[in-house]
């Protein structure tokens, strides 16, 4: 039953991804779509950490930064192919998450928040201070993934926007599929259980520190891959990608969409990515309206968009 | 003193109280018994204002109470010792008691606190410790003592004997009896139905959100249906 729900969810998203381009008036919309998918990917990862396991992170952009710079640095300095660099970035992120996760995850609530915040800041500081390597705050360019020219050689000509829209969509679908698998698995349940009560989780045999660590590492890998994809499609990267504001943006997307829900995360990412694009008509008032919308959503849909709406719909049904 | 008419209440869209009528007269001890999930706690929460009422009316000492916010009900003389104790775990025992008398600043606060310590000497021993560190039963004592600090005309007790040792259970029932002498009315929800009915004047039986029986305590104790369903005799 739950398995069927998983496939329904994935099919709905896939269908939306497929149908949307028919309504795109210009190439710009592919770009925005591709961004939505990348952001959604990192937010889905965050849902595993925050929504499932109940552990906050205010520094997850740090992992995005690592993934992004792996794709910028490894090809230039190590001569690796960018695709390999994505894996390398994910590996480094995972290793780092493993390393710092142990001590950090002993902390609770806001204390964990400040520790992860510190991690994120350290990463972005290294990225912007080690100018010789990373180009400093001005950033550095990222080589092309090369996949598009490969496709072209095979006789399939697509624009950059279309290419990234497609690639990110596929990666996001895989990310969602994995997150949904996890949700209904033993590990995912253990994560949600320790979220409810750590002592009780322990008494049923759940190795709480280990499960927390798993959530942390998995979500770090999501962020890292998202960071890599972002860097590759932009062709240029600055330390902003690892900055505090990006971390906050990720958490906001997760909470806005509904922090326990993978689909909600996608929705949250979509909305917060689209909003600034829509709000440009307000020019000066953009920030004002953005803040207002955030507040209003949380007031009227306090559990996040998707869960609250679902609850409302159910209510009417009964 | 306290009258409830047609009370309905729901969690979300699931109604759990389906129109209750109930009356507590001044100076009476009235008990409500019922199985797990019957809605006893929900009833008390409606009376103390911490659970919204969807229909029906609550009147207390002549005033309509139905829409009065929870924090104003203590001022009117209605105090509750809630299920799950709900003490301030991060504050000390003494601060918990002091806050029980939040509405008062006169000298009587000190005396009431002394009374509380008389009643539960262990609380005096632990007065400066965080209440969260107390044992389960000690927390229960604190919750009752705190409710008394509010100088109620009517006291709502939700399973006051839960987690208390036999000696203390007896003592709690003694306290309730004593309160009547001080003109405090008591509405008592208890799983220890036998003990509760013994000290109560009247009793109500609740089943899945409805009152199914009511009467003078003695009659209820004698009623075979009750003896079988709730007293296990």
């Amino acid at each position: 039953m739950t398995c069927r729900r998983k496939w329904i969810q994935i099919s709905i998203i896939a269908a939306i991804m497929l149908v949307l381009p028919f309504f795109f008036p210009s190439g710009y919309y592919y770009r925005v779509g591709a961004l939505v998918f990348v952001n959604a990917l990192s937010v889905v990862g965050l849902v595993i950490l925050v929504g499932y396991a109940g552990q906050i992170s205010l520094g997850h952009a740090g992992f995005a930064g690592i993934g992004a710079y792996a794709c910028a640095l490894a090809p230039t300095h190590l001569g690796l192919h960018p695709a390999v660099a994505i894996l390398l970035g994910a590996l480094i992120s995972a290793a780092l998450a493993l390393l710092i996760g142990r001590p950090i995850l002993r902390l609770k609530g806001y204390y964990l928040g400040v520790a992860t915040l510190g991690f994120g800041i350290l990463v972005s500081m290294v990225l912007s201070n080690e100018r010789a390597l990373t180009g400093g705050p001005d950033g550095m360019s990222v080589p092309d993934l090369g996949l598009r020219s490969l496709l072209r050689d095979m006789g399939w000509r697509i624009s950059g926007g279309e290419f990234w829209y497609g690639l990110n969509a596929v990666v996001l679908l895989i990310g969602i599929w994995i997150a949904l698998n996890l949700y209904q698995s033993a590990t995912g349940r253990a994560m949600r259980a320790l979220h409810g009560s750590e002592v009780a989780a322990q008494t049923v045999g759940i190795d709480v520190p280990r499960i927390k660590l798993q959530a942390f590492v998995i979500s770090a890998v999501y962020a890292s891959v998202a960071g890599s994809l972002l860097a590759l499609q932009n062709g240029f990267i600055t330390p902003e990608v690892a900055g505090f504001m990006h971390s906050v943006e990720m958490v906001t997307m997760a909470v806005l969409g509904g922090v326990g829900s993978v689909l909600g995360a996608t929705l949250g990412a979509a909305i917060l990515t689209l909003l600034p694009q829509v709000l440009t008509v307000f020019a000066e008032y953009e920030q004002l309206v953005l803040g207002l919308i955030m507040v209003l959503v949380m007031i009227f849909l306090p559990r996040g968009l998707l869960p609250s709406i679902v609850a409302k719909l159910r209510g009417r049904g009964e | 003193m306290l009258t409830v008419e047609g009370l309905r209440s729901a969690y979300g869209r699931i109604e759990v109280l389906h129109g209750l009528d109930l009356e507590v007269k001044s100076g009476e001890i009235v008990t409500v018994v019922g199985a797990n999930g019957a809605g006893k706690t929900t009833l008390l929460k409606c009376l103390s204002g911490t659970q919204p009422v969807t229909a029906g009316e609550v009147h207390f000492r002549g005033d309509r109470l139905t829409t009065v916010p929870a924090f104003k009900r203590l001022k009117r003389g209605l105090s509750q010792s809630p299920e799950g104790r709900q003490i301030f775990t991060n504050l000390s025992v003494e601060e918990n008691l002091r806050l029980g008398a939040f509405l008062f600043t006169d000298d009587r606060v000190e005396r009431d606190m002394e009374d509380a310590f008389e009643m539960f000497p262990i609380l005096r021993e632990k007065r400066n410790l965080a209440a969260g560190g107390l044992s389960g039963g000690q927390q229960q004592m604190l919750a009752i003592a705190r409710a008394l600090m509010g100088r109620p005309h009517c006291l709502l007790l939700d399973e006051p004997s839960m987690g208390l040792a036999p000696l203390l259970v007896a003592q709690i029932f003694d306290v309730v009896t004593l309160l009547r002498k001080r003109d405090v009315t008591v509405l008592l929800v208890e799983q220890n139905a036998f003990g509760a009915l013994r000290i109560a004047d009247r009793g109500y039986v609740m089943e899945t959100g409805r009152i199914t029986m009511s009467g003078v305590s003695g009659d209820l104790i004698a009623d075979p249906r009750i003896r079988e369903a709730y007293l296990g005799l």
Binding site: I178, S185, G196, A200, Q202 | E159, G163, L167, G195
Partner: protein, 260 residues
């Protein structure tokens, strides 16, 4: 041969000797009750045995192995689990999922299998689900299976905790006031359940203030007061012990008064 053995266990909280030099043993299939006044140290004793607190002194043995201060999840893997006096429920999961979580040790597998929804992982999940339903039926919560656990009444939650603990198929089960919040009839049901569990060979350590229940089902009783063991023995021995009567039970009349 005893399965659980406690030797000279003690702990202090800033000067207060909450538990002091307590020893006793439990055999498989035996029900041992720990009774004593409020604040006597019963829950603290449980906390030390189950690894939630680190004992100041003393040792705990499980099947002859020293398990003192071992992490709770490791103890769970060795077959020792417990319920809590202050409910510890996975509030935002459904009732059924709470019990499934209790099957964690049966269900868990390699993480990649979980991430990729490998057939083996799905198979295990399916089996566990059925087991969970059975347990819910046993504590009469099957109707509430899909309900969010936070919505249950207090008494129902107590039973849910027991079901979750049973999901572990423990060898030693610590129950902290399982009948609190249940009326006399409901208590009898829990009685029966506990007796049944003991009959199946589980060693049960019970804390409970309902003396009728304790006297009825215990094989052995340990009495604590102010952290010290003041008496132990069969229900009859203990109930006649003047120290126990003074510290805990009160006079016959009072006991009757309290328990009906």
């Amino acid at each position: 041969m005893s399965i659980l053995e406690v030797k000279g266990l003690g702990i202090s909280f800033g000067g207060l000797r909450a538990v002091n030099d307590v020893s006793f043993a439990v055999k498989p299939g035996e029900i041992v009750s720990v009774i004593g006044p409020n604040g006597a140290g019963k829950t603290t004793l449980f906390n030390m045995i189950s690894g939630v607190y680190m004992p100041g002194v003393g040792q705990v043995f499980l099947e002859g192995q020293d398990i003192t201060a071992r992490a709770p999840y490791l103890l769970a893997r060795q077959g020792l689990t417990r319920t809590f006096q202050n409910l510890q429920i996975f509030q935002e999961m459904t009732v059924l999922e709470n019990v499934i979580a209790g099957f964690h040790l049966t269900e868990r597998g390699p993480i990649w299998a979980d991430l990729l929804s490998w057939p083996s992982a799905r198979k295990r999940a399916g089996e566990v689900r059925n087991g969970a339903y059975e347990l819910l039926t046993r504590v009469r919560l099957e109707k509430a299976a899909e309900e969010e656990a936070g919505n249950l009444s207090y008494g129902a939650l107590k039973r849910l905790e027991i079901a979750r603990a049973l999901a572990m198929s423990p060898k030693v089960l610590l129950l902290d006031e399982p009948a609190a919040g249940c009326n006399a009839v409901e208590t009898e049901e829990i009685d029966a359940l506990i007796a049944e569990l003991a009959a199946s060979g589980i060693a049960i350590l019970l804390v409970e203030h309902d003396m009728k229940m304790v006297m009825r089902i215990s094989n052995h009783i340990v009495v604590l007061d102010h952290g010290e063991k003041i008496a132990e023995g069969t229900p009859t021995e203990v109930s006649r012990n003047p120290d126990v009567i003074a510290a805990y039970l009160g006079s016959e009349e009072e006991t009757a008064h309290a328990d009906g």
